[in-house]
Amino acid sequence: MAFDKAQFSIILFGLEKIMKYAARKYPSFAARLKEKNFIAQIKLRDNSQGRYFIFKDGKVRSKNGIYPSPDITMTFQSAALAAKLMKPWRSQLDVISAMKNFQLGLEGPDELTIWFSETLNLLFTAGLKYGTDMGGGIKRYTSNTNGGPVFVYVKNNKIIRITPIEFDETDAKPWTIKARGKSFTPPRRTTIAPHALAWKSMVYSPDRLLYPMKRVDFDPDGNRNCHNRGISSYERISWDEATDIVAREIRRVKREYGPGAILNGSGSHHTWGHLGYWLSARLRFFNTIGFTPVVHNPDSWEGWYWGAMHHWGQSMHLGGSETYSTVEDCLKNCEMVVFWSSDPESTNGVYGAFEGTVRRQWLKELGVKMVHIDPFYNHTAALLGGKWIAPRPATGNALALAIAYVWITEGLYDKEYVAKRTLGFEKWRDYILGKEDGVPKTPEWQEKEAGVPAKDVRALAREWGTRKTYLAAGGIIGFGSACRCATGNEWARSMVCLMAMQGLGKPGINMGCAQQGAPVDTRFYFPGYAEGGLSGDLQGTALAVNMYQRMPQLPTVNTVYQRVPRLRIPEAILEGKCEGYPTDSATIEGQFLKFDYPAPGHSPVRMYYKYGGSHFGTMAETNRYAKAYRSENLEFVVNQSIWFEGEAKFADVLLPACTSFERWDISEFANCGGYVQHSFTQCNHRVAIMQHKCIDPLGESKSDFQIFLEISKKLGVAAPFSEGMTELDWCKRLFNATDLPNFISWKKFLKKGYFVIPAPKEELRDPVSFRWFAEGRPKDTPEVSPLPADYTEKFGMGLQTQSGKLEFECSSLKRFDPDDPERPLISKYIPAWEGHHTKELYQKYPLQLISPHPRYSFHTMGDGKDSMVNDVKDHRILIDGYYYWIIRINTKDAEARGIKENDLVKVFNDRGAVICAAQVTERVPPGTVHSYESSAVYDPVDEPGYSPDRGGCINLLTPSRMMIKKSHSMAANSCLVQIELWDGEEVTK
């Protein structure tokens, strides 16, 4: 007891000395001390011991005892605890435990308590060195992006260059795969996606929001003029005014309407970094204030999630496949790769830059055959060559059934595997043979639907049925535009069923295209962004799996149970009601639990706090969103955005966020975790990255974390939000939560900025996905999926389905809704509800538009905002001083409409019109047109929501109808349009 008190006393006495020393040594710390004048008391709860610190005019001094009226007070339950927690080498778990159990308290205005805590923490970080001196006043920092990690060269606080990372001689050596007499070793560097190379131009974009702004005709205390959103201009306001308005509005809507009145959502993709991410700082803040979250549809998975999952489970992968060690298996054993709606050279898997490219080049070098099934002659086909098969959009399942028909009638499938590992094949077989509906699903039947010559289908089916084949359905673990159309469910279902017929998991027979499944170390722990960073959110992120223990933090809980489905935001606002189905990865049945908006006893949303502005380009039938923003039902809209683009132009108050190059963060190359478990196996090398604060935030912009902290201070919740720590402090906490400290010190990592995680030796490589299943062994790949309770017979044995087998006829659907005509128990061909069978519409709009994920931009990153990506010839075309989005149209269709290359055309249907530049091409068959989704620019020529868009938001045209009724899914690739030359005059209302 006495010893503890003595220790506490010494620490308190020492604290003043240390602060003085730091102020002498580090000018930044001395400057910090000049910021505030106040008195901070540190004491025991029973007032038996204490010392107070007087901060005045940049000086600090302290006195023993209890001060009668300090500005802030830090209280410890006991001297022993105080001694323990004030040591520099204290355990973060001890600090969090003390906070959670009220053994450690901090009282006073947030502005001062946070300043005091941060200042104490700064004692550990002041003077830390980071970056590499390159001479000539240039420093090389490191950062990370959605398109790969980078070196950032900075001179005089300005970024001069951004490059991929080339490893030095001290970095870990790469792996080698020996296959068919050859050795394959990846280059010792990281690759980079085009949008990542354009970052300098995006940091210094003229569209950057540099100051907080307010719509000129928005008066929170008077006329709000909601209908002028998207039309009126903005005026600069101070941060204090901006955060005041936001904090006041948060309080007002809670007071006037009760729980649920605040809606918040983000884009699917934010600037990279595990702490500043939308699944981290954003959730921590909004959980702290209570909000109605926008729930995401599984937009890249759709058919896999709502369809394929019922055949094989894989809920943790949202119905997609897993890929462990498939790169090695593919190189060693595979004879043919069928790319089906798969263009990894355009989509980079996800976040994977061009890491997979070299591996596909090796496959080509080995003479592995390639087939590309896609209505668009995509860039993977163009690079690798092989047979191009172009079914009519949304008819892929007719093609799949016809392939199965050939296998069945010619005996070209693995009968033993089907008998032992699957269930319900006979029912599917009979349907395919026409016993159920009298229509045999022959290649000729298929030709009428999908348009692929029957002879080509037979040739493909025979080749596939006699060769070890990898099926790359989508660019990575699933995905693919074909899963985002009216028939997306049935297509994805058949992809799984086809592989079941060929013996999924046997050597050389698996899913993928060498995009994921490289032999890197999956057992080295570094979190992905979906693991929640500092969110404290145990429900909305995967924090509970590892990070909650490894980076102890205060938990956060959103007390509002109401949700709005992302694709129904407009209906929620305009009509005040909608329904949705959840994206739930824990179990197959999670997706069946329909929810309604508004939730019982909850307020409809009245305030919308939007993070970024991407929905016009990325959701469906997006004129709806413009209309919703201009509704009086939304009393307040605040947008926290880096650039003035898209939805940001519809806000009442704009909060300028800085880019990830202007703040601290920490992350790993292509590691998102969550739904794409071990996604870093896309990379040839695992690379952990310290995201240096390379330059100061531009203008008055602030990091998202800092913006939330400023608002938190005005709401009195700053302490639970930041735990008194700066972003750099959190980076260190996250570093300590990983396996990095076993290999490199914090100081070294911070300085160098990256660490290449060594590849395991050959004997320690992961087993191949599904090999265990094919061989009837317990699951041996390194993931806890399915969860233990989802096994039927014994832990690890079988799949997540009720039978544990791969089910051709789905027991989950039998339990849920066996008579659903939109989602039958077996995969069937159901013609698209918008397509060549919808006669009247098809006559009016005879072109079928597909709009896959974009190639040069990512979500809305890289596009618009005067980014250099706009100059890429195949991204946008500069015509009369304006950068137009591109639509690709077959030569014959173009001729029939008098359209030439680079002509401006109007692409339209009943939902809207988009002005594009025409690219006349043979890369699409007649009748199909191709454009990418995700334009960042929404630029209506007249009234927002009603007039043609020059910006290129193709999703203005896509249907908002759910793929199937009992889902929350988009079917953007079932979209009929007409195209005509645009005279530049017309405005439609």
Partner: protein
């Protein structure tokens, strides 16, 4: 004396634009005194990627030809420039002196490859510098080569004799040798961009159904001379490549087991998909 060369493999270029964008990253908003002043934010393409689609749906391919300054050993721009405004370094790189070249618009016109761009604002001609400012600092390759993910771009620093050996070994060629400017930029698989093909599919009827004719022998005749022969693949497809555009009439002759020989005349203007040939 070692000199710089660039090898561009058209087959490996997929139009990712990493070269184009890294070039802009390096040169927009950055002056490199002694080498270049900053490139305009928009408009210039110091690395200009040209696209060529060949054939007709569904038998097509697409090639991309990245086109930088050729760093010619006999450079017309050097000759056209006044006051040594454009010069060749000992390492083979051609540099436009941004100060001396002011106002010299004729330098742009002198380049037969269209690789020199006019900077309106700064009143100077500009082009690829091979990132000489970086090479002089010890970099081993220019930005475009560093960023290329496919190996389509390779920078070679070698004696001319060594380069001669590589040219032979890898069957490299220069773009438009008829310009006689002796470029230091070499291309591999340039035919994918410069030449054209005749392709088609062969099918036959069996038990009332149309099937792909795999393994059919297809011969190509020009003026009654057989100039090439190939075998159809799984899908009955064949392709004769490296033909000249507008090279006139050809005859295709197809021989397939159990079927009568079939001949087909085609006129080649640009790459041609002859369609499905039914035996």
């Amino acid at each position: 004396m070692k000199k710089w060369n660039l090898i561009i493999d058209v087959e490996k270029c997929e139009d990712c634009n990493d070269c184009f964008l890294s070039c802009k990253d390096e040169h927009v908003d950055n002056d490199w005194p002694g080498y270049s002043v900053s490139q305009p934010r928009h408009g210039h393409r110091w690395m200009n990627i040209m696209r060529k689609e060949r054939g007709q749906y569904p038998l097509i391919d697409v090639a991309y030809r990245p086109t930088p300054c050729m760093h010619c050993d006999s450079a017309p721009c050097i000759k056209a420039a006044r006051g040594n405004a454009v010069y060749k370094r000992n390492d083979g790189i051609v540099i436009i002196d941004p100060i001396k070249a002011k106002g010299q618009q004729q330098v742009v016109k002198a380049c037969p490859y269209g690789a020199v761009w006019w900077n309106e604002e700064k009143d100077i001609p500009q082009k690829c510098t091979f990132c000489a400012h970086l090479l002089d600092e010890g970099w081993t390759k220019p930005r475009c080569v560093q960023a290329c993910p496919t190996g389509a771009l390779r920078a070679i620093y070698a004696e001319d004799s060594e380069m001669e050996r590589i040219i032979k070994a890898e069957d490299l060629e220069v773009l438009h040798p008829e310009y006689k400017t002796r470029p230091r930029v070499y291309y591999k698989n340039l035919y994918l961009y410069e030449k054209c093909f005749i392709a088609g599919s062969v099918a036959f009827e069996k038990d009332g159904a149309i099937e792909c004719a795999q393994g059919a022998t297809v011969s190509l005749f020009k003026d009654s001379n057989k100039i090439a022969e190939t075998t159809t693949d799984t899908f009955g497809d064949f392709k004769f490549d490296k033909l000249d555009e507008n090279s006139g009439n050809y005859t295709l002759e197809i021989v397939y087991q159990g079927h009568k020989k079939k001949a087909l005349d085609v006129e080649l203007k640009t790459s041609l998909n002859a369609g499905t040939i039914h035996l």
